[in-house]
Symmetry: C2
Subunit: 376 residues, 2 copies
């Protein structure tokens, strides 16, 4: 059996398109400096990491052993309490965030979720799916949560458990909510029934290497953290890691006879390749390699800001952010460079794989457009 | 940069393990007659089918065009109402079922979900996540819903919208709930506020080719259907398709400025490879190829039943099922053949890739064990 010549040709053309589109996007948080084709032989087998990665099950075609190592490495990076964490490799941060909020709801069924208006749209979707009471908090101009508004709002609901959904890198400006400030607000109001989830989709793999280190992880008070695998870490398939304190997870464990395991994941059948990809990246780079990768992105972001400022574009970025924000250029330019735009703002994200030369091309395009000499 | 020799060696050994384990399992519903290594070049690029497959978005590194073709082919197979359906490629049927139930809840916030006790454990998990009122219905011995119990239970709640979660192939016995019977029960009780979701994880790709055709799809009254891509269709990565009537989906659409699209999916960032895999399978096999594959599995299942009966094992299967059920053998045998077991019952599933010769080996092992002459 074989594909028709026409179908083969379509796939070939599609691959060329994907190559071109991958080369030209600057506005989305996907690394593009990877190659996982060495895993091609695994595409013959039905690998399925069904259920809990820490439990032996009767189905053996899994990459659970690699998944556990990935989780352990990420747990160390995010300073999870030793021996008191659990997690799994998800299909992406939407699932990881759903999981964190689900845990929070199980612990505090009547809790209110507080999240800033700069949060990703999936947060509203998730609290709606989970049927959770929630209040949106104002954001500051830089995208960070408005702590005064948080304080004022919490004050009115001191009798209700507080579930804080913190953004560690918002989608538009890569703003990071500060867990130390949030903790201190909760302390001041003596709200002890609290749960903090960090949505570190983008910055979970960046923040551990920053100086000063942002207050975002378990040591800073998070009860659960979601990070993406296909963003800074780089994976050809959307994925992520969710970690939570074990005592919270144990509350939702459910005995499952069928697969001979306790399945506390959202998904059930799970991708077995993505844990291998994450394992490969971590082992290929090592901690020092990850740090170098972060520094490289910071340098490219600094360069982009400078170059855009130089041609009169009011570009800016948050402290130690790899996201450069500026007023939206023409629709043509937005499309050509696949820029994500909202409220007349666009951004470039200096992900691994984006080079100064890419910035030069974009800046040149923008300059042409500003001078109206461009064919774009 | 390269992996250490030790790490490379580990991956090589792991591939060998995966090959061996894939060859020996009989108890899980994963096809193993595929090879997707021709897609290796796509493992260089951050393909991400973020958002709605039918909406143009600013991010272009997607396989949306292939996804739409897959959805169209599956919609035809499941007799979706022309021009009045919507869907997307999911990470598996747990997500597809969550989506169906989510739609049902949005349409009928106070509805009660009815599902049989033979349902997959993820159903309980899903109704819990969605915070939906639910009642478990007794199952008949063959795993099919007990329609009398359904009738009696619905009678008591005629004032409440009914959300029926129908199993089209239960996990243990591949029993199919009959949508015609369910519709007629609802009609008799004059319950017009109703929603039927078909969990056709396994049988969605089998039932369209059976004679008599089971009553399970849109033409039979389903409002949404989830099927798995990594089960009968065959994919090295868990995935699936969920389809629903468009008028229901439109109710939950939410305007999303950020990605310039209306994102009604559960996931957000989505796998771009699995739609390509499903497209490839459908184009490689064609409708006739799919029919042949179903017939082959039915023949292997019939052979397994006969052979087991012949050595005195009381094996049986539902009409036109590819799942053969029998009393659980020894733990050693269960582990060797990776059999899923529950309540002292085990099963073999004659998935594509399982041959009569595999059945012979298993039957031989069982015979040895029954005569206690075996080293297993």
């Amino acid at each position: 059996m074989d594909l028709s010549a026409e179908d083969k040709h379509r796939l070939e053309c599609f691959l060329v398109n994907i190559q071109q589109y991958s080369a030209s996007f600057l506005g989305y948080p996907s690394a593009k400096d990877f190659d996982f084709s060495l895993f091609k032989d695994f595409l013959h087998y039905p690998i399925n990491n069904i259920g809990d990665p820490f439990k032996e099950a009767s189905f053996k075609v899994t990459s659970h052993e690699f998944e556990r190592e990935v989780l352990k490495d990420v747990a160390e990076m995010l300073r999870a309490p030793e021996g008191n964490w659990w997690g799994y490799v998800t299909n992406g941060s939407t699932e990881g965030n759903l999981y964190g909020l689900y845990l929070a709801r199980e612990l505090f069924p009547n809790g209110i979720v507080y999240f800033s208006q700069a949060s990703h749209y999936s947060v509203s979707k998730n609290v709606h799916i989970l049927n959770m009471r929630h209040i949106m908090i104002r954001a500051q101009d830089n995208g960070e949560m408005d702590y005064e508004d948080l304080t004022d709002t919490l004050k009115i609901h001191r009798d209700v458990p507080a579930i804080i959904f913190a953004n560690i890198g918002t989608t538009m400006t890569e703003a990071r909510d500060d867990l130390k400030k949030i903790q201190s607000i909760l302390d001041d109001l003596a709200i002890s029934n609290r749960y903090i989830h960090s949505d570190a989709a983008l910055c979970g793999a960046i923040a551990p290497f920053l100086d000063p280190r942002p207050a975002f992880d378990f040591a800073d008070g998070a009860d659960s953290i979601a990070i993406s695998g296909h963003k800074f870490m780089g994976s050809p398939i959307p994925c992520g890691v969710v970690l939570a304190k074990k005592e919270a997870v144990d509350r939702i464990a459910q005995s499952i006879a069928y697969i001979g395991t306790l399945d506390t994941t959202i998904t059930g059948s799970r991708n077995g390749l993505t844990p291998l990809f994450l394992w490969y990246s971590i082992h290929l780079l090592g901690v020092e390699g990850m740090r170098r990768r972060v520094n490289k992105s910071l340098a490219v972001a600094a360069y982009a800001t400078e170059q855009l400022n130089e041609i009169g574009v009011t570009a800016w970025r948050n402290l130690n952010a790899i996201t450069v924000v500026f007023p939206s250029p023409s629709v043509d330019l937005q499309q050509k460079w696949q820029l994500a735009s909202a409220a007349d703002q666009s951004h470039i994200i200096a992900m691994p794989g984006v080079e100064n030369s890419d910035i030069d091309c974009f800046v040149n395009d923008t300059k042409c457009y500003l001078r109206q000499t461009c064919s774009n």
